[in-house]
């Protein structure tokens, strides 16, 4: 077999939602992009996620994350329109506002206190949200059950068809000339001659810049170019019902009806390493809470359950950095590849194309935050 040799301006490692959004953003600027991806065996958060474009509750402990998330939510409409114009694929982005439902007064109090702390932070971006009592929730969501005690509502929250989003990004980046290569696991990366050499099993790719967007795989790849990427898998489990006629106009943080009619349920968080086993205990708990929120869900048939792995940093916030020791090597990783797809494509990709992540926008997201001494 002949050895493969390719050259590109930018090699993006990872073809999930983060890598594909950055690759699309770069390719539409005229950058020659090659995307190196794993095959079907990859741990693919982009195919297992819950597909929310979610703002409320993001950024307690890092106000910059709240601003970055709001910016993405605000850009999402034009991002979806551009994808539709280019590819003909409607990713079904809707932003009707979203609910976090509470099933007891205690949950309502905890929720209100958490959001108050979030919005009291110095430098926090301003946006509307409100706490609703049970009667106010019922006025907007007449289907809720008697145990719903209140909710928080944020008009910036929405959702999307994330499988179609991944497909649209792939179609779009290839229309702009990007090369997508599945089954091209990157084994080694070596800085060479102001650029990079990426060794794959059957050859190599040379690129002026690289973007590590390999999710949990970034932990292995980062140190090859002087980047510390402390990410770990965190399991989430999801239930999907049969498709039914539309009944739910708003996404709930744990329940949403897709554009095609399925109901997705799930928000579990487990530290389980690389284990993607579905556990009856967790999905039962998810289903039980969902039925308390919307009693008629009890009559629906479940057609699928699955577990997928989030890409989690120690503090849960995204991580963007250009390597100091190997300039031109960037890492971009987060557990919000759907919500942040718009900023990854329309803001981060142009910054990478220019070769700089300005500190005022990206400084807070550097992995340096994990190495602050305990005492000053």
């Amino acid at each position: 077999m002949s050895r493969e040799l390719r050259e590109a301006d930018v090699a993006v490692v990872g073809g999930g939602l983060v890598g594909a959004a950055v690759a699309w953003g770069l390719a539409r600027l005229g950058t020659r992009v090659v995307v190196l991806d794993e095959g079907d065996v990859a741990f693919r958060a982009s195919r297992g996620n819950f597909a929310l474009v979610w703002v409320q509750s993001k950024g307690l402990g890092m106000p910059e994350y709240a601003a970055w998330t709001k910016l993405s939510s605000d850009l999402w409409g034009q991002f979806a329109r551009r994808l539709a114009d280019e590819t003909g694929l409607d990713v079904a982005f809707r932003r009707p506002g979203g609910f976090h439902l509470c099933l007891s007064e205690r949950e309502v109090e905890n929720r209100a206190a958490m959001l108050k702390r979030l919005h009291n932070q110095p430098g926090i971006v301003k946006y509307d949200y409100e706490m609703l009592d049970a009667a106010q929730v019922r006025a907007m969501l007449p289907q809720v059950g008697p145990e719903v005690a209140g909710a928080s509502f944020c008009p910036l929250d929405g959702h999307v068809n994330s499988l179609r989003l991944l497909r649209a990004l792939h179609a779009g980046m290839q229309q702009h000339g990007a090369t997508y290569l599945a089954d091209h696991v990157v084994e080694r990366i070596e800085p060479r001659g102001g650029g990079f050499r990426l060794a794959i099993r059957c050859g190599e790719v040379r690129a002026g810049k690289i973007v590590l967007a390999a999710g949990n795989g970034n932990a292995r790849l980062g140190p090859m170019v002087g980047l510390d990427v402390p990410v770990r898998p965190q399991r989430g489990q999801i239930i999907v019902t049969e498709k039914v006629a539309p009944f739910l106009d708003y996404p709930i943080v744990t329940i949403r009806q897709t554009d095609e009619g399925s109901v997705m349920i799930g928000d579990s968080v487990e530290e389980a390493g690389w284990d993607t086993t579905v556990g009856a205990g967790v999905v039962s708990a998810e289903a039980e809470r969902a039925v308390r929120m919307f009693p008629h869900l009890a009559r629906l048939n479940v057609v699928r359950t699955w577990a997928a792995l989030r890409v989690m940093t120690p503090d849960g916030f995204p991580l963007y950095q250009q390597s100091v020791g190997s300039p031109g090597a960037f890492v971009a990783t987060c557990h919000s590849g759907v919500t942040l797809a718009a900023v990854h494509a329309l803001v981060l990709a142009p910054a990478i194309a220019r070769g700089e992540l300005p500190a005022e926008q990206y400084g807070a997201f550097s992995p340096r935050r994990f190495h602050v001494p305990a005492t000053a």
Binding site: K243, V244, A245, P246, F247, E260, G261, H296, R299, L300
Partner: protein, 98 residues
Amino acid sequence: MFRRLPDTDVPTIEVTIDGRGARVRAGDTVAAALISAGVLASRVADVSGAPRAPYCMMGVCFECLVTVDGVGNRQGCLVPVVPGMRIETQRGKREVDL
């Protein structure tokens, strides 16, 4: 399109298909009853709107979804007919009473 094998006589029962009375064989599944009654499109797909018919007849493909006694999205090939059963070809998505 389909013919019965010439086996022994089996008792028939009365059901309704889209509101009209029909005699079907006892022991048949809903999907088999629809096929033998000449109903070729047993549903209209919930997303594409395309007419669909029973395919695998063994519970795997979910093509034969019908409304049985008012409950939508039943797999016709897994539900045996019973006397008086109301079988409706399904138009689009299942409706769920709130």
